[in-house]
């Protein structure tokens, strides 16, 4: 065949050439030109349209089929090669895989928890994105998820909702109730949620069995005691028997007819508290629900739903996102008309339901995730460093492969495959680690006594995707740079030069990586310092109570079945029984537990105090029996405590806390003898106690608080505080026995030492300290490892030089100092690089620390000292090696 004249390339040939881009570069380089030429040749032979079409079809299909095969073949080849290389360095490979696994695993674990509480919709309802909760002004300001509304407000919202907008209400709290079936003698506890009949239709939940509540029960007139069971409760309590529908269940003494069972995957709208039983809102007094409300001159003994002065409901609406503005407008108008003043609400997404855990832990979790990412970055830097170092060692191998014709892209691909394989192995190990670590995290954060977490941090698709992205980024960060450097080998010089010269070239990127590691470590160590100091502050905070030797008992006299007029007699009986128990010094009843603020009442008038415009004087009001202050350990700082002689028929008296006295009376001592009250100032202040913080939230400062005699206020006490002379845990059984002997009708909801409550409250801080410490140790360890590696290489490289200097009479101590100085220099550079990040990071955690400014000098300085110490320590070993160099040996090496 004669030589073909060169032709101008046709459009067809250009398209074919473009298609060849689908092949791996190596294959294209080898055969691309020939393939294109063959195609063009055949194209010229094919004249008929049909033949050309057929040719195109074959060419395109051929490429689409063959190109992926070539890719797969190459990847497989690279993987096999990579596996061989990694197996040759088993120890190094294991170290890298474990380091990365820890980094990726920590990220996946933290993310899985974040996913469970803040991203995933746990509701198990259709179209959760259409659900919103009604929130407004001060609830928003105080970070609460939903506003508290009254029954009449809910009625108005329901009646004025635009077409297609569903409105449902539910009690703010999930109550613990006692249930008994017809053929049982003992009661068993269950969790109960009061909901409006629209609750199920609005959420889009249909019963598995039976029905839910008829809509007309939204009006106060519907008083039929009916209940819907959750699937889990139905299984647990009734063995999943379908006969349960129509049967009777006594709830807190009232007989309810079970009318339905909820679907399997619906457990209510509170993430941490699965609901067992739903009953209509109208059943509030029937189930004796009396918790979690804000009130203003209400009568608690009458049913709550019709009363405009009791705010005890959360409202959820279902509205298509594009109609949210319309709905908000309609709700604002109707609520403002009802209240006679301007009210503006917002609708907040409710797809994820309510969660106290989310409120408490979202910010810490994000901070934790950032830390986990930092640790991973440090780990990646280490891996990059190791790979760089190894790439230097492999320069000869790479140069040989290049000399034999392997192209740069091919080598780059091969080297990158090695790091990808490392990351894949690490990723698999990480997911195994993340599964258990995520649940452990939830357990530690919630600090549940029995060890069963209230929800699980499942590894779902989103977590897997996150881990995949993290792993991919790890490949990019730890693999791309070393691979691109390694594949940029100058063949001739690499084959000629000795190993020592090659190491010299790796030094500068390795040093940069170490500096970055130190910078990231500084952020982590400073963060840990912040959390440790914050934790110390919380441990040392002046609580204003004496939680040691204090036993707190949760009681519910409401459920005892005692008529209201006989309750006072029962209180006396309970107190004398408990006081008589072994190891008990004193006991006292109170309306509220020591958690934090008690029922907030607004609209107080104070003698001689002129409220500012729009100011509503609001106090936390607690009703207590005499001896309360000495029992819980509150210090009386002026006046007298409450006495037995303060009775319903004597003058109204109160003891206030110091914050209240200071806020409204200037000099707090002058509060004694002054009067305040709701309608008229008819309560005289007889004493002042020092401020106390709530055991449930030690961070919150004391708020203006009032203590009135229980005898002068018809409320139900829910807390029994017991001061013991012995370890409260030892007195616990005796107290329980005394109550069940002398007041057997009083159900005990909980009983624990007050210190246990404090410990639970500190769980968030303890977790932060624990995890950040772990992360810091990991970070500093990894950074130290990197620093050590870099210095060791530097020493190895400079061995001949050091030998020469020692031979010429240099002092060994100077050589030693030279290496340590190098280490300290690297650390110092890292510190300066890290300081801006410390400032930014401090802002992120400012909401989480207590008693210190976010940019805390002590923490930064401590971190600095730690890093310098680690730097010096990492420098000492290579330095000693350098100083021990025998000049003769060193010089002979060269």
């Amino acid at each position: 065949m004669s030589k073909m004249p060169r032709r101008k390339e046709t459009a067809g040939a250009r398209v074919f050439r473009a298609l060849l881009a689908l092949y791996p570069g190596a294959f294209r380089d080898e055969y691309g030109r020939e393939m294109a030429l063959v195609f063009v040749d055949r194209y010229r032979h094919a004249v008929a349209t049909w033949d050309r079409a057929r040719l195109w079809f074959e060419a395109v299909v051929g490429i689409l089929v063959e190109a992926p095969k070539e890719h797969a073949r190459m990847i497989l080849h690279d993987l096999r090669y990579a596996w061989r290389v990694l197996r040759q360095h088993a120890l190094l490979t294991t170290t890298i895989v474990l380091t990365l696994a820890l980094g990726i695993g920590a990220n996946a674990a933290v993310f899985s928890v974040l996913n469970a509480v803040a991203l995933r919709s746990p509701l198990g309802v259709p179209a959760p994105d259409e659900l919103y909760t009604v929130n407004s002004g001060r609830y928003l300001a105080s970070g609460q998820e939903s506003a508290r509304l009254s029954g009449p407000m809910f009625d108005v919202l329901r009646q004025t909702a635009p077409d297609g907008v569903g409105v449902a209400a539910m009690s703010r709290a999930i109550a613990r109730v006692y249930t008994r079936t017809d053929d049982e003698r003992e009661t068993t506890p269950a969790s109960l949620h009061l909901v409006s009949p629209s609750f199920f239709p609005v959420l889009g939940v249909s019963p598995l069995l039976g029905r839910t509540f008829p809509e007309d029960q939204d009006s106060a007139s519907g008083h039929e005691p009916v209940a819907v069971l959750s699937y889990a409760y139905w299984q647990r309590r009734f063995g999943g028997s379908p006969d349960v529908v129509g049967s009777t269940l006594a709830i807190n003494g009232t007989a309810f007819t079970i009318v339905g069972v909820g679907p399997r995957d619906f457990v209510g709208v509170w993430l941490e508290t699965p609901v067992d039983i739903w009953v209509p809102l109208t059943m509030q007094s029937a189930v004796k629900y009396s918790q979690s409300f804000t009130a203003d001159g209400a009568d608690f003994t009458r049913p709550w739903l019709p009363q405009p002065q009791i705010w005890w409901l959360h409202v959820v609406v279902r509205v298509p996102p594009e109609r949210v503005a319309t709905a908000v407008g309609a709700f604002n108008t109707s609520l403002s008309t009802l209240a006679g003043r301007d009210i503006s609400i917002v609708l907040e997404p409710f797809a994820r339901g309510f969660s106290q855990f989310r409120q408490r832990f979202s910010t810490p979790l994000v901070a934790l995730l950032v830390m986990a990412v930092l640790v991973l970055l440090i780990a990646c830097a280490n891996v990059a460093n190791v790979l760089l170092a190894r790439a230097v060692g492999r320069q000869r191998e790479i140069a040989i492969r290049m000399a034999m014709g392997a192209g740069r892209p091919r080598l780059f691909h091969q080297l990158l495959t090695e790091s990808a394989l490392l990351v894949i192995m690490a990723g698999v190990a990480a997911m195994l680690f993340a599964r258990s670590a995520g649940d452990l995290l939830v357990r530690m954060a919630t600090a549940t006594a029995d060890g069963s977490p209230p929800f699980t941090a499942a590894v779902d698709l989103r977590v897997l995707a996150f881990a995949a992205v993290v792993a991919f980024l790890s490949v990019v960060i730890s693999g791309v740079w070393p691979a691109s450097r390694a594949s940029r080998v100058d063949v001739v010089s690499a084959l000629k030069s000795s190993a020592h010269a090659a190491i010299g070239r790796a030094a500068s990127p390795a040093r940069a990586l170490v500096i970055a590691q130190v910078a990231l470590s500084l952020v982590l160590v400073t963060g840990t310092g912040l959390f440790v100091r914050s934790f110390q502050n919380m441990l040392n905070v002046r609580v204003g109570l004496e939680p040691e030797r204090l036993l707190t008992v949760g009681v519910d006299p409401h459920l005892s079945g005692t008529p209201l007029e006989d309750l006072a007699e029962m209180y006396g009986r309970v107190l004398s029984a408990v006081t008589g128990a072994a190891g008990v010094e004193s006991a006292s009843l109170a309306m509220c537990r020591l958690e934090g603020s008690c029922a907030r009442e607004a609209g107080f008038k104070i003698e001689g105090y002129q409220p500012r415009a729009n100011e509503r004087v609001t106090f936390s009001v607690n009703a207590v029996t005499p001896g309360y202050f000495s029992t819980v350990g509150m210090r009386l700082i002026a006046g007298r405590a409450l006495r037995e002689s303060d009775r319903a028929n004597t003058a109204n008296v109160a003891v206030v806390n110091k914050t209240l006295a200071m806020s409204y009376f200037g000099d707090w001592r002058q509060a004694i003898g002054c009067r305040f009250g709701l309608a008229i100032p008819d309560i005289e202040i007889v004493g002042i106690v020092d401020d106390a913080r709530g055991l449930g939230n030690l961070k919150a400062a004391a708020i203006p608080s009032v203590f009135v005699p229980l005898a002068q206020r018809p409320v139900i006490p829910r807390a029994l505080e017991v001061r013991t002379s012995v370890d409260p845990a030892a007195a616990l059984a005796g107290v329980r026995r005394a109550i069940s002997r002398l007041a057997p009708e009083l159900p005990i909801e909980s009983i624990e030492p007050a210190t246990a409550r404090v410990q639970r409250n500190l769980s968030q801080e303890r977790l932060a300290v624990l995890l950040t410490s772990a992360f810091s140790v990991l970070a500093v360890g990894l950074a130290g490892f990197g620093l050590f590696g870099v210095l060791s290489y530097a020493v190895a490289r400079r061995t001949p030089e050091v030998g020469l200097r020692i031979a010429l009479g240099a002092q060994r101590s100077r050589v030693l100092w030279g290496v340590v100085r190098d280490a300290l220099w690297l650390v110092t550079c890292g510190v300066f690089l890290g300081l801006p990040f410390v400032v930014v990071g401090s802002q992120l955690v400012s909401a989480l620390v207590f008693g210190i400014t976010p940019f805390d000098g002590v923490s930064v300085l401590t971190a600095l000292v730690v890093l310098l110490a680690v730097g010096a320590a990492c420098g000492i070993v290579p330095a000693a090696r350098a100083a021990r160099v025998d000049p003769v040996v060193a010089l002979r090496c060269e």
Partner: protein, 85 residues
């Protein structure tokens, strides 16, 4: 490629991609090898690359042909194909 098409009566159509994929596979398996020297420029074609069978390649091709031959003989013996006249 056209040669293959003709020899198989159009039953085996090789596209450029399948052709070079087979060449690459055979090279990898050591059945063929590429020739370094090219013929006289007179008879050369720049598109062409020259391969020849290796000893292994020839052995494999012979073995395959033998196998097919036996298969054919069996087919004829059992009357699956008409006996050769």
């Amino acid at each position: 490629m056209l040669d293959v098409l003709e020899r198989t009566d159009g039953a085996l159509r090789l596209s450029p991609s399948s052709l070079y994929a087979s060449i690459r596979r055979m090279l990898e398996q050591g059945l063929i090898e590429e020739l370094a020297e090219r013929p006289d420029p007179e008879h050369d074609d720049e598109r062409r690359r020259y391969y020849r069978l290796t000893r292994l390649g020839r052995a494999v091709a012979t073995a395959e042909a033998r196998r097919l031959e036996r298969l054919l003989a069996d087919a004829r013996a059992t009357g699956l194909l008409p006996r050769r006249t």
